[in-house]
Symmetry: C2
Subunit: 277 residues, 2 copies
C-alpha cells in the first residue's frame, strides 16, 4: 500500500501563481495532464476572461477549485481608498462565485501612515463589511497571516495568533484562517495556534513551500519543498492531527523557477510534494 | 530650553558599521569632530589592530565605548563548531576588555540542520559557557533578538519575548537584552516585553534605525530614522518610561548610505536623531 500512498496526489493543489508564466488555460490543461486535480486561482489570470468560459474549462477537466487569491488590502488613511478596497473585495466574491471557488484568501494589508493596531482594526472592519455578501454567495473568507517582513506594506497580521484573534472576534462560520508555512514556520507559538485555530473550526487552508538559505529577495525567492529549512512534514502533521482534511496548496513565488520550463517544474513539484511534505 | 534639547547629542551613539567605509581611526576622529562621543565598535574594525593603541585613540577623544558587536552564533549540529564558537566569544570578551567596552551584543545564531528550539538550547548553553569569563572581565552580555526574516541563518531568537525568556532563565546580572527597533517594531507584544525586560533589570541596550518601504535587500537596506515606517519615538518613549538611561545607538546597514560621503551622512544621522527619534 506504500506505493499507493507515494503516488497519492489527491490532496495536492497548485496555485496558478506558482506557474506564473502560464495563463489559466495552460494551468488547467497542464495540471490535469500531470494528474493534479486541484487549483487555487489567482485573480490576475482572470483578467479579461469570461468567467463562464473559465468555469466550463475547469469543469471539463474535473478541476477542484480550492480557493481564489486574493482579497483583502483593506487599510488606508484615506476613507475613499478603504471604500475602493471594499468594492474590490465584493468583486472578488463575484469572481469566486463565477469560477466555483468556495473560499477567498485575504491578505490583510498595511498602511505606513498609521499604527499596525489601526490597520488591524480596519482589516477587521473590512472583513465585517464584505461578510454578508460572502455569506450570501456561500463563499468562505480565510485570513492569511503574512511573515513579519511584510508588516510594513502587505499585512499588519503577522502571526497566526493575530489571525486567530480576529477570526475569533468576528465569530462567523464564514471567516477563518489560511496557514502558510512560509509565513509562520519561525513562530514558537505555531503549534499551539494551529490547535487553537482547528478547535475554533477556522483552519480553512494550508499552503506549503520552503524558505531558501540564503533568501535573496523578499518576495520572489521562495523555495520548492525540500530546498530550504522549513519543517514542512512536522507542520503538516500538526495540521492533520487537528483533523484538517483539506488540500496541501503549493504556493511558490520564484523568479528562478518561473524562468524554467514549467512542465518540468510541475514534475519537480509533484516529486517534492510526495517526498518532502 | 527647547533649543538645548534639540541640540542634545549626549545620548547618541553610532555603530562603526553604520559608517562602514571608515576604519576605527576615521570613526573616532569624525564622530568626535561631529560632537558624537559614544561609539559601538564592530569587531571587523579591530582586525589587525593593537587594542592598546585603539584604547588610547578612544581615550584621547574622550569616546564613550557603549558596546562591542558582536558575539554569539553558537548553534551548530557539529560539536567542534560549537567549541569554536565558544573560543570566538572568549576572544570577543578579551577584545571588549581591551577597548573598554562594558557590553557585548550577542546575535544568537541558527542552524538549518536542527529545529529553532534546539538552536535556542545551544545558544543558552553557549552563553552559560562564556558567562564566567564575562563576569571576571566585568563585561555584560546582551542577547539581541533578530527579525524573523533572519530565523533561518542568523538567529533562532526572533522576538523580545524569547530573548527575555532566555535571559530570565540564565538569571545573571551579567546577561540581559539589546532591543533594536528594526527587529522588533512589528511585534504586538513589544511594549509589554520592554516593560518585562526593564522590570528584570535586563534592558541593556537600545538600537535605532528605520524600515524602508519597500525594503529591497534583507541585510543592507535599512533606513535612517524617519526614512521608513517604524514608530521610533513611541518605542523610545516606552524604553525611557521604564527607566532606561542608556544610549540611542544608531545601527544602519545600508549599501545606499555607505556609497555616500560619510561626513555628510553623519550630519544627516545627527539631524535625524534630533528630529525623528
Amino acid at each position: 500500500m506504500m506505493v499507493l500512498k507515494m503516488d497519492d496526489l489527491s490532496k495536492l493543489c497548485v496555485h496558478t501563481m506558482t506557474t506564473k508564466p502560464w495563463g489559466i488555460e495552460d494551468c488547467v490543461k497542464n495540471f490535469s495532464d500531470a494528474g493534479i486535480y486541484a487549483i487555487t486561482i489567482w485573480r490576475n489570470v482572470l483578467a479579461n476572461k469570461n468567467l463562464k468560459d473559465v468555469k466550463i474549462l475547469l469543469d471539463d477537466h474535473e478541476m477542484n477549485v480550492v480557493s481564489l487569491c486574493r482579497g483583502g488590502f483593506f487599510p488606508s488613511v484615506d476613507a475613499g481608498k478603504r471604500e475602493s478596497a471594499i468594492e474590490d473585495n465584493l468583486m472578488a466574491i463575484e469572481q469566486a462565485a463565477g469560477v466555483g471557488a468556495p473560499l477567498i484568501v485575504l491578505v490583510g494589508g498595511a498602511e505606513r501612515g498609521q499604527s499596525p493596531e489601526k490597520s488591524r482594526e480596519q482589516i477587521t472592519e473590512g472583513i465585517q463589511r464584505i461578510l454578508p455578501a460572502a455569506r450570501n454567495a456561500g463563499i468562505k473568507l480565510a485570513i492569511e497571516p503574512l511573515h513579519p517582513m511584510y508588516a510594513a506594506d502587505r499585512s499588519a497580521i503577522n502571526t497566526l495568533k493575530q489571525a486567530n484573534d480576529i477570526a475569533e472576534m468576528i465569530n462567523s462560520e464564514w471567516v477563518g484562517v489560511a496557514v502558510d508555512v512560509y509565513h509562520c514556520w519561525w513562530d514558537e507559538t505555531l503549534r499551539q495556534e494551529i490547535r487553537r485555530c482547528a478547535a475554533l473550526n477556522k483552519l480553512f487552508a494550508f499552503h506549503i513551500c520552503d524558505w531558501n538559505i540564503p533568501t535573496t529577495d523578499l518576495l520572489n525567492d521562495r523555495g520548492l519543498m525540500g530546498d530550504g529549512c522549513i519543517n514542512i512534514q512536522e507542520i503538516r502533521g500538526w495540521v492533520e492531527d487537528c483533523g484538517f482534511k483539506g488540500f496541501n496548496e503549493v504556493e511558490i513565488f520564484s523568479d528562478k523557477y518561473w524562468a524554467n520550463d514549467q512542465k518540468a517544474y510541475l514534475e519537480k513539484i509533484k516529486q517534492a510534494y510526495l517526498t518532502k511534505t
